[in-house]
Symmetry: C2
Subunit: 304 residues, 2 copies
């Protein structure tokens, strides 16, 4: 059995805990949180668990938690994280790799669907179609980062942002702004200046400008009733003149699917560690067979 | 540079030779054929090339060539084959594994898209969605095995069989017969009994019975004009109650795409061999990063 520890009790951590019993070769040994929560151990005590956990799933956020946490914990534990700040991945990889090599552990970063499975399919596309191009569409789905950005705006009580793929003809000149539009459901505080809120959103660099952005004001009751879920998905298309490969995801719960990826990555990490490997990995470094509990004979029969 | 040898000068071998220059880290060193063909070396001389080729691409057929050839050549060469007789894969794996371990070589079998890439995506689906089910649809596309079967029928001069996916609601009870239908374009010999040909086709066990099979008689000119290509494709769908993963291929040339898979597998095989690994592998055993010539730093930037 693989002893799993979970760090963080937000959407992702709770989803991982709920999903874990589906994997008969893993057992949930401990959940750690900075907050006082029933069933969670204080994060401050995690050092005492060194040697008692096979893999730690780090379920914190990429903005504040993981940049420091992954490298710090990789010295004492094998870890899996879902670091998804694309531009910062090379730096994060270096930091975690150094820590994991010094601690003789195995760390797998940026597990999830993008980065993660979508990265895999971009790579398979590039390997099989060396002269092909790849395109990634996100959505339709809720972007938690963009929803958070909306909530930080003055006069906004609550909000939810949907990223929506555009119907476009594929071409190398396409920008993310042409491939996607953004729909914001916003609950304004009493007496707030809705016109000003709209302008602030549309002009927010990086997040909304220059995207085709729609702002729709709703009541808190409407938001809670119609937009409480976290659906997401997207497509990776790799194509050359002769062949087209397309990988499509449709997820009713983004955290639950991401948790599923983290769990099979934990299985692979525990195997690499037992083989004496050390250092930082990504899904691109993992032999697919190491992600599953199914043995070789069954794989040859069922999968090939 | 990776020195590649190609065995077989049919559709697949010629496609591999034509595609190879797209990979700047590989060079085509020799092509072997049993037939006397310009630019091809006699297959009987292949033993003299031991130690002069990094990887041999075996581009023969799964029915007659590969079962003996792969194991025999794996004693002296690292090989990649596209063995696609699904039910025989476990036996083929054992034979090739034994030979490759005795010869201290690396062999990768069943490379292509199914078995091959579709196997990968069935595995990723099963790993991420342990309670999910996977479904594979083939086509629309030309099945060379079924076209050959038609040509062996008395009174048939030439033929082409298209496998077509059916629009069905996914359920565990689905059989391949319900998921696909078959359309046969048949050129009858002068004076042949077309009624008898139709019956023979519809009743051919395994190949056409009990599929929904259409037989359409055409002239040789029509067949050559409209059905000379080898397009193919299909879909793998993995789904549970919450999430759906779909992988779709659309190929204008089945041999060309398969050759692209063989070539990136050859790259991986040469790396495994340099690391001192031996024995038989499949795509399920290959870390995706080993399929590409792109270095780690670029992969982290471009793919993740």
């Amino acid at each position: 059995m693989i002893n799993i520890g979970i760090v963080g009790c937000g959407n992702l951590g709770r989803a991982a805990a709920a999903l874990l019993p589906q994997s008969t070769d893993m057992t949930l040994t401990a959940i750690f949180s900075r907050r006082k929560l029933p069933g969670c151990l204080p994060f401050s005590q995690i050092a005492q668990w060194k040697g008692k956990l096979d893999v730690l799933l780090l379920c914190g956020g990429s903005a504040s938690d993981l940049p420091a946490q992954s490298a710090a914990l990789a010295r004492d534990f094998c870890i899996v994280d879902s670091f998804d700040n694309h531009s910062q991945i090379p730096t994060h990889f270096q930091n975690v790799d150094k820590a994991a090599k010094e601690g003789a552990t195995v760390a797998l970063i940026s597990a999830g669907w993008d980065p993660g499975l979508f990265s895999l399919f971009r790579l398979y596309g590039a390997a099989v179609l060396p002269q092909g191009k790849h395109y990634t569409f996100w959505g339709p789905g809720v972007s938690q980062g963009h929803s958070d950005a909306l909530r930080r705006i003055e006069g906004v009580a609550d909000a939810r942002q949907y990223t929506l793929p555009q119907e476009v003809t594929l071409s190398e000149a396409l920008t993310p702004f042409q491939m996607h539009r953004r729909h914001c459901y916003v609950v304004a505080k009493a007496g707030a200046d809705k016109e000003k809120i709209q302008q602030t959103i549309r002009q927010m660099p990086g997040y909304f400008a220059p995207y085709d952005t729609t702002v729709e004001f709703v009541t808190q009751a409407q938001l809670d009733r119609d937009h409480s879920g976290l659906p997401h998905g997207g497509r990776v298309i790799c194509t050359d003149t002769e062949s087209t490969m397309e990988y499509r995801l449709q997820l009713s719960s983004n955290p639950q699917f991401t948790a599923g990826v983290l769990l099979c990555c934990a299985r692979a990490v525990s195997r690499l560690y037992r083989r004496g490997e050390t250092g930082c990995k990504t899904l691109l470094d993992i032999a697919p067979a190491d992600l599953t509990a199914t043995g070789r004979e069954e794989l040859l029969k069922q999968m090939l």
